[in-house]
Symmetry: C3
Subunit: 140 residues, 3 copies
């Protein structure tokens, strides 16, 4: 059983939901040598998150942004933590709802996801800047 | 440290939240030989999800269905991705809120969950059909 | 590749979101010997959860409590499972939204989280009592 771990940087994304599957795969070519394992992807931030969802239709990602803005509202009267802007506290809530990490099966040197699954970088800030990820690959 | 990975199929479930703990356990008898480890369960779909919650009272699962229908509404005016039906886009949002995978401790050959915990298959589509899971067991 | 697994108990917390990073680290000193790995933290309950979010400003944790109470309402007319109190069913929903486990990269003997990330114990019951966690450390 082997383990490979590395840190990668993503260029800044605009607020919204973005497919990063191909970048993740290209950053960890060691995966080609893993017949059975798991890839763990961790985001080192509290106002952006990771998720797995539909990889084909861009309207799904736009609907994600609108739905989460509807479910987790800005400018709630009860927010105390608002001095970084109206997008600050909602970004923290969205980040915890979606989560800071993913674990994905690896099989025959590739991610073993469903046909329609892709990895989303969920940028909840208006100007989140570059985001850092830690990739951990375990397997045989 | 060993790793065992397999794919399983679940028969179609109606829309709602369903206990699948016993089926998961029966599909991976190799777990009996693991003294310390983790079982990773991954669903290869974007409109169904996995969660861990109360395993005793069926009314909890019915309340889950009603609550998620209340929090993630159908027929929102802002949905673009609606051509697969009114349950389509809400299913994607619910799937990301709940997540595509679980990691559960294994101890003494068994899942080391709390007394009241069970594994839920969360079917968010009206007719989701058969769902595919990938089980990955790591441990000693 | 080695694996270390242990169960720990948390003293009762009031309802709300609480930082437990330092307690988790102190409970697993074996982490100092892991150069590359993952720490898995699992909560054996269905009305409390774990999350990773902002570790500096206590107002963020207060806003988390208010936001989740706003998004997941008590006393909904459609709740069947209400005989343990108005905080019962909402606690189950919040627990599944946030999740029962975390996986965090370990590097050079330490958790490799971002500067502003901390581990939250999310207590969704008014009187949840002591909570039990299972820690699983895997790495080299």
């Amino acid at each position: 059983m082997q383990i490979i771990q590395k840190e990668i940087h993503l260029n800044p994304f605009p607020r919204g939901f973005h497919l990063i599957t191909s970048q993740i795969i290209s950053e960890i070519p060691e995966m080609r040598n893993i017949q059975q394992g798991l890839l763990h992807v961790f985001i080192q931030h509290t106002s952006a998150s990771l998720s797995i969802n539909e990889n084909a239709d861009p309207s799904v990602r736009r609907d994600f942004e609108r739905s989460f803005n509807d479910i987790v509202r800005e400018n709630q009267p009860y927010y105390e933590h608002d001095y970084e802007g109206s997008d600050d506290m909602p970004a923290h809530i969205k980040a915890s709802m979606l989560g800071a990490s993913l674990s994905i099966p690896v099989r025959g040197g590739k991610l073993n996801m469903g046909t329609w699954q892709g990895i989303y970088l969920c940028e909840h800030r208006n100007r989140g800047g570059s985001r850092h990820l830690v990739l951990t690959l375990m397997g045989i």
